[in-house]
Amino acid sequence: MTSAPTPLLAIRGLRAAYGKIEALKGVDVEINAGEIVALIGANGAGKSTLMMTIFGKPRARAGQILFEGRDITDMPTHEIAHLRIAQSPEGRRIFPRMSVAENLQMGADSTECSDAEREAMLQRVFTLFPRLKERYAQRGGTLSGGEQQMLAIGRALMSRPRLLLLDEPSLGLAPLIARQIFDAIRTLNRQDGLTVLIVEQNANHALKLAHRGYVMVNGLITLAGTGAELLQRPEIRAAYLEGGRHG
């Protein structure tokens, strides 16, 4: 593992639980600025819980979450968002009765930014996802699944994040649309230097996209390495790429 001086996000020994059911059993993850990091694993491994725990819901039972060396483990959710950590949550969670334009503005509302910065970011989102520009006056709920995913990512981008958390962006999308989404993430990383943590079940796509990856099984990180390395590992191929059972 490569270790940079101070990672953008460092998670150390993180434990979290829903009632008595422990979902995270001591997780260590590091994300350096400018990286795309993929987190892969089967259903119920705790990937989404990790995402949500970074945002303070559920609260961590033990361990630390450090953002630029600052402890954010016990911060209220909205203050974590104010540090410009943005999230495209699982199931997209766009605002269905509000227009596309309003959805996007919601992403920028709680951050302090000038009208010019807001406008610039809006244009950036429209360049990445031209479909959103075509449909800006439509209600969010009338968009297709892929467009809703674009909207969720666009809304998260409107806060000009320093770290973007994406929870299953390809879930339920046609392969072609999923590819568009992954391409946009790659563009954001290369051109804007955006740091991304992506949770995916689609291990093949995610690991090809990511610089580094972590594999999660039953609330623990079992493997870590570069995307290319992980793609070569026979146990990864067996468990996540070739439809076999994990041993």
Binding site: F55, K57, P76, T77, H78, E79, I80, A81, H82, A86, Q87, P89, R93, I94, F95, P96, R97, M98, S99, A101, E102, L104, Q105, M106, G107, D109, S110, T111, E119, K133, E134, R135, Y136, A137, Q138, R139, T142, L143, S144, G145, G146, E147, Q148, R155, A156, S159
Partner: protein, 439 residues
Amino acid sequence: MTAPSTNTAKPATGILALLKTAFINALVALVLFSLMVGIRTEAGSSGQLTYWTRFGELASLVAIVFGGSIVIELLRQWIGPTGAEKLVPPALQSGMSLIGRYLTPALLIFTLLVPVIFYDQRYILDLAILVLTYVMLGWGLNVVVGLAGLLDLGYVAFYAVGAYSYGLLATNFGWSFWICLPLAGILAAFWGVLLGFPVLRLRGDYLAIVTLAFGEIIRLVIINWQELTGGPNGVSGIPRPTFFGIPLDNSDEGFAARLGIEYSPTHRIVFLFYLILALALLTNWVTIRLRRLPIGRAWEALREDEVACRALGINTTTTKLTAFATGAMFGGFAGAFFATRQGFISPESFTFQESALVLAIVVLGGMGSQLGVALAALAMIGGFELFRGLETYRMLVFGMAMVLIMIWRPRGLIGHRAPTVFLTKAQAISSDLVKEGHG
């Protein structure tokens, strides 16, 4: 219009299907009514159970259900299923949008002219003031229920707080209406925040129950705190409003005497009319302004998805509290107006029935739609007066009207929600022109 034929095709709607539905409904009615109506039981003279049958009534009820369900099915086919695309002729469509564009200004102008047109008809003026009071209450509650999506069944509590604030401050300290009005609003907003704190974690049904209880608590406190509120006897002798210090009465100092015109009690009514109109329009204006600001957008987003809001950095606590406080403040204004209009207030004016009525106005009008709420208030309060002669049947009529509206317009009279954010540079594309996505 070239709607695909699949959209217009209806499910089997033959006479046979119609009769089948009606038959099933009649069967259900038979089972239900056979015990409720068909057999009548009563305690006999020596305590034994006596019963007799009423098959005639049972048969007529079942027949009514049978006939009724045929009529409803026919109506439904005639009007069309709610979800399906309706084929409205383009001419009618453009006519409708024309009406839509001019309805609001036309209504506003008409409202402004009501005291001129109906100057001699005291009854109509009184009714108009009542309707406007409910329009204002509806718009106030609309902030909480329509925008923020927090179901509030105890809105009357803030109405009561406003009314008693003015009533007590004016009778005990002799403060004028114009000082008490903002105070009543502030006090109501304070109670709104006070209610808001314990219910922050609640949603939907649970929130509704607690707000319902809150409304009752306020009423019970008013009844029982006799030293302050006068209990069930209420507060009487509340001063009438003055025209910025000039009383609207028959004295030498009065409004009429100063202007040198003949005194008429209608002056006061007309003044009250314009007062409540101004207050209602203020409510409307503030709401429209707030909707375009981040706080109003946050209210609407909160209604849609609380989890997403939090992830976007919105402090849901303050967002909810401001919604409660804003709605309560307008309720307080309306309450102060109510107190000065009546001159007498008692706990009887602030029962759950009022909360339910205001909530019904908001829901029927279309949650979040200002025009819809105004129209619903007009229909509900005006309608109540219209059917006053029928007395026993009017609740029946209103129940029916509500059921019908919920069947055909489940989002309320005006369910359309106007967007508040527009692109400045890009060309505008109307949502009507863009096809809905599939997915």
